[in-house]
């Protein structure tokens, strides 16, 4: 795509040039829409280019210069997207920040990025910035889009977006040629955006991307999935998140498709139906919420509708994914599927706002098998991808027709992946970050001397050549026979069963894998009630042989799954027990974000671990618990231990 460009004279390799190219070539097509006062307002590419020009000139009039950073805070709004482009036109760097961050969190980023200029959405954000002004007096200019509630604010730092535009028009008139000149001075190797990583470990780090890198990543995506100017997306995920920046900004700039901004975060699902995007991205949590809404409404539907729905969902489960992947299906099923498409799947996709959807992606967390199968079976091309903020999310994607539940697909064009000795996935990608802002130490730690980014994730390539991510590399251990042991991978597989709330696997430097299981009281309780099985409470339920049988079935299913994968065949769960109490953050067994603190649990329940590995059939234990009111007590229980059947890997069985 290296056409010569009238402004730069060279190729179109910066975001401002891309924008101007669209304005010239498809100036009358819709670039962005926003629902305002109940009506979808749209702007063409030519109008957007004009707005960006005015805004850039306004910022220049206010003293914003090359290499300065511009904070952008708010919901997905056209004007905020234009702010990205305006900053880039001036050779500056947009720094989007999470709109729901509290003032203190903002202070760190503002200070770290030495921000003097900010464009924000409304009073809420202005209030937060004014709150931290005494601690961070360097913030000199705050521009706000929505003036509501701000009429009586008199702080000298404040200026409305509309006033900024007026100043921009004035500046543009007085300085002809300024805009063209400044745009032509932007180089592909300049930093185009700075995205702060969430910082679950330590302080947030500013990830700096270059125009060249981010555009290369976006271009790769666009070519891979064949996006073009007729595609539509809904931008509703936080602008500070790399995913939204890639989908709603970079890819839109490269492919020239239309971005739609919802009216408010509460209306996003409704707006989704009105727009009917052709391309959609959501983390698994959102797909789950959608499914739950559908299921709840189905339960309220009339008996005939409910019957139809369940019958045809059965058909879809049987053959839906195969039909999508173009695999052979018995003619009767194919016929039933066509009927189902007419009566159930089509209307259902319409309700979900997915009638026109060509491609949907999910990523960022493991997706449950039922969820994944549901969407694919009703004809939604849901695929997974893998990437980080540091790699512009350009690492792996599942190609059409080759989507699998537990892999993240294959390396995208131009990406090189190698698996280090400890199982860590290392990546060389066109979308590689330039550096962490002002953190040469962190940059050196994450990029190897030969140019690979160290993801910190452990994974391997399966027999089809697809990448499987199994765990954080630091959590991965080895079994006594030398094969890898990825506890989280196994635990996730177990937790996808509704009956299992939490699981803890042991196996590092041991000859087999053993597991603690926490049952889900509600799901197992319901299950027991349906079979007329009386129980007195959690403790009673956990010791029932029927419940053990139920868990055994789940575990053996996971084992059969693991057996299919050579690298993980030895990680099958050989023995397990059901814990007599729920793991709880109050007892320090979980973190506040509900992650298991593995070593603490192993220590606390050492006798149980010992019993698992010494072949005993039960074990007595007394555990101290903290009640919510601060009192302490002990629970005593005699816990049974059961063996689980393990299967042989097909290659070994032969």
């Amino acid at each position: 795509m290296a056409q010569s460009d009238p402004i730069s004279g060279g190729s179109v390799d910066t975001f401002p040039l891309l924008l101007l190219q669209h304005a010239r070539k498809q100036g009358n097509r819709t670039a962005i829409r926003e629902k305002d006062l109940g009506i979808w307002q749209s702007w063409t590419w030519a109008q957007v280019a004009n707005e960006v020009r005015t805004l850039a000139c306004g910022l220049a009039a206010q003293g914003f210069r090359r290499e300065m950073n511009l904070a952008i805070i708010g919901d997905n709004r056209p004007r905020l997207y234009w702010s990205f482009a305006a900053a880039q036109c001036l050779g500056g760097v947009p720094v989007p920040m999470y709109q729901d961050a509290v003032a203190e969190e903002m202070l760190f980023v503002l200070d770290n990025a030495e921000i003097e200029y900010a464009i924000v959405e409304d009073q809420e954000q202005v209030d937060k910035l004014l709150e931290i002004l005494p601690q961070y007096p360097n913030l000199k200019h705050i521009f706000y889009d929505d003036p509501r509630g701000l009429r009586n604010y008199t702080q000298p730092q404040l200026m409305s977006y509309d006033r900024l535009r007026e100043l921009g028009r004035e500046y543009d008139r007085r300085n002809p040629g300024f805009f063209e000149r400044t745009v032509s001075e932007v180089r592909p190797e300049d930093v185009c955006v700075m995205l702060y990583t969430s910082g679950t470990t330590g302080k947030p780090k500013g990830v700096c991307h270059t125009h060249a890198g981010f555009i290369a990543a976006a271009r790769g995506d666009v070519e891979f999935d064949g996006f073009n100017s007729s595609d539509e997306v809904l931008s509703y995920l936080p602008m500070a998140w790399v995913g939204d920046h890639l989908f709603s900004y970079a890819q839109a700039m490269v492919a020239g498709f239309t971005v739609n901004c919802p009216e408010s975060s509460e209306t996003a699902m409704n707006d989704l139906r009105e727009i009917g995007p052709t391309y959609y991205f959501a983390p698994p949590r959102i797909f789950e919420n959608l499914l739950t809404t559908v299921m709840i409404r189905m339960d309220d539907a009339s008996r005939i509708k409910r019957g139809l729905f369940h019958y045809f969902m059965g058909v879809a489960r049987r053959c839906g994914t195969q039909i999508m992947d173009g695999k052979p299906v018995p003619p009767v099923d194919r016929l039933l599927y066509v009927l189902g498409e007419l009566l159930v799947y089509g209307p259902l996709r319409n309700i979900l706002g997915m009638s026109r959807l060509r491609v949907a992606y999910t990523g960022g967390a493991a997706i449950g098998p039922d969820l994944y199968r549901f969407y694919r079976s009703i004809g939604i091309n849901l695929k997974q991808l893998y990437g980080q903020t540091e790699t512009s999310v350009y690492v792996c994607k599942q190609p059409n027709g080759r989507a699998k539940l537990d892999s993240v697909g294959r390396p995208l064009p131009g990406v090189e992946i190698r698996i280090a000795g400890n199982g860590e996935v290392q990546v060389k990608t066109p979308g590689m970050l330039k550096e962490y802002y002002k953190r040469p130490d962190a940059t050196a730690e994450s990029i190897s001397p030969d140019g690979y980014f160290l993801t910190g994730d452990a994974g391997f390539f399966d027999s089809d050549g697809d990448l499987k991510i199994i765990d954080r590399a630091s959590d991965v251990g080895k079994l006594a026979d030398g094969s890898i042991f990825a506890p989280q991978f196994i635990e996730n597989k177990l937790k996808f069963f509704p009956y299992i709330k939490e699981a803890v696997c042991f196996g590092d430097r041991r000859e087999m894998v053993c597991a603690f299981i926490n049952i889900d009281l509600q799901a197992v309780g319901n299950w027991a009630e349906k079979r007329n099985m009386p129980y007195t409470g959690y403790l009673d339920l956990t010791s029932r042989p029927e419940v053990y049988d139920l868990m055994l079935k789940c575990i053996e299913q996971v084992n059969a799954d693991l057996a299919g994968e050579a690298q993980l065949a030895s990680s099958q769960v050989s023995r397990f027990l059901i814990l007599h109490k729920e793991l709880d953050a109050d007892d320090d067994e979980l973190t506040r974000t509900r992650k298991v603190r593995r070593s603490f649990v192993a220590q606390k329940y050492a006798p149980l671990v010992e019993a698992l590995y010494s072949g005993q059939s039960h074990c007595r234990i007394a555990t101290e618990v903290k009640f919510e009111d601060g009192r302490r007590g002990t629970i005593e229980a005699d816990i049974k231990i059961r063996d689980a059947k393990t299967s042989l890997h097909p290659a070994m069985a032969a």
Binding site: D36, L37, G38, I39, R148, G149, R151, N152, Y153, T154, E263, S264, E266, T267, N270
Partner: protein
């Protein structure tokens, strides 16, 4: 609020009002004024005559004695329809919305008095009426945006939680573009978060549209926080009138609320 809001001249003057239902004296000899642009509260124990007072102001009840003058026009008998035409809107203690209609339609009814076209024109929806309806809808959308209820625009009111219904009622009152807004216990039965939201909206309405507001409220925290001046009623009589600070230290008011033998 950082504002320098302008409180103007007297807008509504209530003089020596007496109202009784048979032998029950609901109000006796109550006088007070409301100034342009202020938020005025009426407080008092149960049965003090607060709602009756609002009903007198917008003409639902006709007092046996006394005058109500609105913008200099003195009137003895008033009916709600004329009150609304003069720019007085209200919300009710027990929500009075059309439960089966959508939020949008409910708010549109607030524009009713501003419609100029005839019933027949409205029925066939052409020409003048069409233009009119579009203009009204635009105004209603502004209010929906203002009160942040976009997500329930098409939801029937009966399906909404109580707090949101209260907000819709406020929206309908605002749709009439009132100069004086009467709110009868706008925060009754709400949780803390809903109350905070409602307080913000009331302050915003006052600030943004310059609407004068008279409200009845039991939550003293709210009243003391957002109101400029307060009238205190007890057994149909006015026992206090002043700024929140004055009322807080008024002996008669403290007695009425803590209860002393009469």
């Amino acid at each position: 609020m950082t504002g320098q809001r302008k409180i103007g001249d007297v807008m509504l003057l209530v003089e020596n009002i007496a109202l009784s239902f048979g032998g029950v004296r609901a109000l006796s000899d109550v006088s007070f004024d409301v100034r342009e642009g202020e938020i005025r509260a009426i407080i008092g124990p149960n049965g003090a005559g607060k709602s009756s007072m609002l009903n007198v102001i917008n003409g639902v009840y006709h007092p046996q004695q006394g005058n109500v003058s609105f913008r200099g026009e003195v009137r003895r008998r008033m009916d709600p329809h004329r009150a609304a035409a003069q720019g007085i809107a209200r919300t009710f203690q027990n929500i009075a919305l059309f439960k089966g209609m959508t939020v949008l339609d409910n708010i549109m009814t607030g524009r009713n008095l501003k419609m100029r076209s005839s019933l027949i024109e409205q029925a066939i929806y052409i020409g003048r009426n069409r233009r009119e309806e579009i203009a009204h809808r635009a105004k209603v959308e502004e209010i929906i945006d203002f009160l942040q209820i976009e997500h329930i625009r098409k939801t029937p009111v009966g399906r909404l939680p109580y707090g949101l219904q209260k907000r819709v009622e406020l929206a309908r009152a605002l749709a009439a573009e009132p100069t004086l807004l009467l709110l009868d216990e706008p925060m009754a039965g709400m949780n803390v978060e809903e109350k905070q939201d409602m307080c913000r909206f009331i302050l915003d309405v006052n600030d943004e549209f310059g609407t004068t507001i008279v409200l009845i409220e039991h939550d003293m925290g709210v009243v003391m926080d957002i109101c400029d001046r307060i009238v205190v009623l007890d057994y149909g009589r006015k026992i206090g009138d002043g700024t929140p600070d004055e009322i807080r230290n008024d002996k008669a008011v403290i007695d009425a609320y803590l209860g002393v033998s009469h």
